[in-house]
Amino acid sequence: MTDPARTNLDLTRRRFLQGTALTGAAAFLAACGTSGTSATPNAGAPSAAAPSPGASDAPQVEEPSPTPIDKTVAAELQFANWPLYIDTDDDDSTKHKTLEDFTAEYGTVVKYSEVINDNNEFFGTIKAPLEAGQPTGWDLVVLTQWMAARIIRLGWAEKFDLTDMPTYTVTLEDVYRGPDFDANNEYHAPWQAGMTGLGFDRKVTGDLTSSNSLWDPKWAGRVTYLTEMRDAVGLTLWNLGYNPLTVTTEQFDEAVAKMQSAVDDGIVRAFTGNEYAEDLVAGNVVLAMSWSGDIIQKQLEKGSLRFVIPDEGGVLWYDNMLVPLGSPNLYTAELFIDFVYRPEIAAQIAAWVNYIVPVKGAKAELAKIDEDLAKNPLIFPPPEMLAKVRPFKSLSEEEEVYMNDQFSTLIGV
């Protein structure tokens, strides 16, 4: 597997307000007499920062004393995720076996909301409360690695107590361990990894293989690009012969210009988040920049949909579970993360969503469910497929601001 994106470790100032809010929440819970927390935290008490269990020799980071987590299992867990990202019952799209299994074991009802369509858009909804030091209302969210990195950098993610997560610490695939932005994997846990490529309706377009189709006037008005800057630009960079992992500003500008010409020529119908999947089924769109697992899931509704990594190259990414700062149910969230890292559960999810599984042993479990699935190239990409995909370069503040700015102009907002 490839290296996960390396980002700059640039932990900015910690906000004591957030620390106080967290402390306050913990104190409140303690006062309710529900927990057996060892110490009642004082606001801002500068006790010696105990190194978290399982910490490596990574440089100690400045932070206020970690507040002991309240170890009660919550009645509800608010889980925000992308659409088409968890195993779903065939007949009733509101039932998810994995969530029901979790409830059966721990009693917690998981309130699952498929509200994330785009990283920036979702971040926009939680930015304000995070900045003001208020709870976001979510216990668990799933965001792509670069956004996860940003949130962790800003100090807006809760830290796990890894002793609560024995399975996770063992079964996490090695390739995801120790990224720059989270050396001990205690702020994020990979959910699925995936690849960006082409999704199309082969009944209309035939079998496409090249990203040149994205600029083909034959499909004008029925093509969508992604609002995910790294994916859209990434595919375009490959098309121009550049590697997204080593993109320069000039190459970026060229890619944006190329996409702008597609917009001006009326080829691009829309820049979408996850909405392209619906449009493909409805027939309004025949070719879309797509995420690997989505198309397969939509084949249920429209059998002629296909997904390919373009010959020129695709983009690799992985999405991560994070607990936003201020969540009162950190412990339950940890339990959930640990739960989905059990190989049999991971296999259960992967069998449905068809994304790349970050869990060791899932392949064997998957083979038990379905031999063919264990050989599914989307879930376990063979080397030749992996050779064609690269993650997008991890960007500096400056680059990110510039690129986001240019991209916003491209999509017209």
Binding site: T94, S113, A128, Q134, T136, E278, V281, E301
Partner: protein, 287 residues
């Protein structure tokens, strides 16, 4: 409509023909046009209702697949939908109540009294109606953000309620004022001559007479509030109202239940209006 007209010179037989065609067109063309236009207005409503009986293949309720009433049997089967509807209704009721009260008071002041600040008051009432919703929502958002350190004002149901009351007041004022200014002052003056105080006059005479206006204004405010999307979008934070639920669902496929709820609201509203008309007619009959 008299048909006597100074007509242009022409053959005797040609004139009535032209006039007849003209009158035919006049009478029926307009009627036909009206029917077409109203049909155009109601077409999307019909489609919404139609697709509430659809049995879609997957999640996208965009293509007709088969008739079923199962979703009518289970309209709140989608998680979050029931809560969203409840939130919408709650906010609509509260905002209607409060804005009706505040607005009626203002209307009374503006119509019944002469005072110096009436021009500015009128201006202040008028301005929110002349401001696009997005500006109303955006400005409220900036205010809530600005005063949110230290965290006083999380965006939630309360902020939505505040916004709804704000924009409803103007509409209530305009509606009640129209009713009020059409009222005969003599009734009130007579009451006062007979010794009633201001308060009693208001309560026993004015209020019952303007009640239809207040009711109309309340209905208007209620429907504006329950369907509001733009302003709510800016001030909702994480709260989900019914329109916001629809907006979110539009991305990943609107569940059939949403169509069911939408159609149900329509039918209930139409039913209420029909009932009130019948009730009105029945009241007026023994006269």
């Amino acid at each position: 409509m008299t048909a006597t007209a100074a007509s242009p010179a022409g053959g005797r037989s040609a004139r009535p023909m032209k006039d007849r065609i003209r009158r035919f067109l006049d009478r029926y063309l307009l009627g036909l046009y009206a029917i077409l236009a109203i049909g155009y207005l109601l077409l999307p409503v019909a489609v919404i209702a139609l697709f509430s009986f659809n049995d879609p293949v997957g999640r996208s309720n965009l293509v007709w697949n088969g008739f079923t009433v199962q979703y009518w049997m289970d309209p709140f089967g989608v998680p979050g939908l029931g809560d969203a509807v409840l939130v919408s209704i709650r906010i609509a009721l509260l905002s209607t109540l409060i804005s009706a009260a505040l607005g009626t008071l203002i209307a009374l002041a503006l119509v019944r009294y002469q005072f110096r600040a009436s021009g500015s008051a009128n201006l202040l009432i008028f301005l929110p109606m002349a401001t696009p919703e997005i500006v109303l929502g955006a400005s409220l958002l900036t205010m809530f953000v600005a005063i949110s350190r230290p965290p006083f004002f999380p965006l939630n149901e309360l902020t939505i309620l505040i916004a709804h009351i704000m924009f409803n007041i103007s509409f209530v004022v305009v509606t009640v004022r129209a009713r009020l200014s059409g009222l005969d002052r003599h009734l009130e003056e007579a009451a006062m001559d007979l010794g009633a105080t201001e308060l009693v006059t208001f309560w026993k005479i004015t209020f019952p007479l303007i009640l239809p206006g207040i009711v109309a204004a309340s209905l208007l405010a209620f429907s504006l509030s329950i369907d509001d999307f733009v302003i709510t979008n800016f001030t909702a934070g994480r709260t989900v109202t019914f329109p916001m639920f629809v907006w979110g669902a539009a991305r990943i496929g609107i569940p059939v239940q949403v169509n069911v709820i939408g159609t149900a609201i329509f039918v209930i509203a139409v039913g209420l209006v029909a009932l009130s008309v019948i009730f009105q007619r029945r009241r007026e009959r023994p006269a």
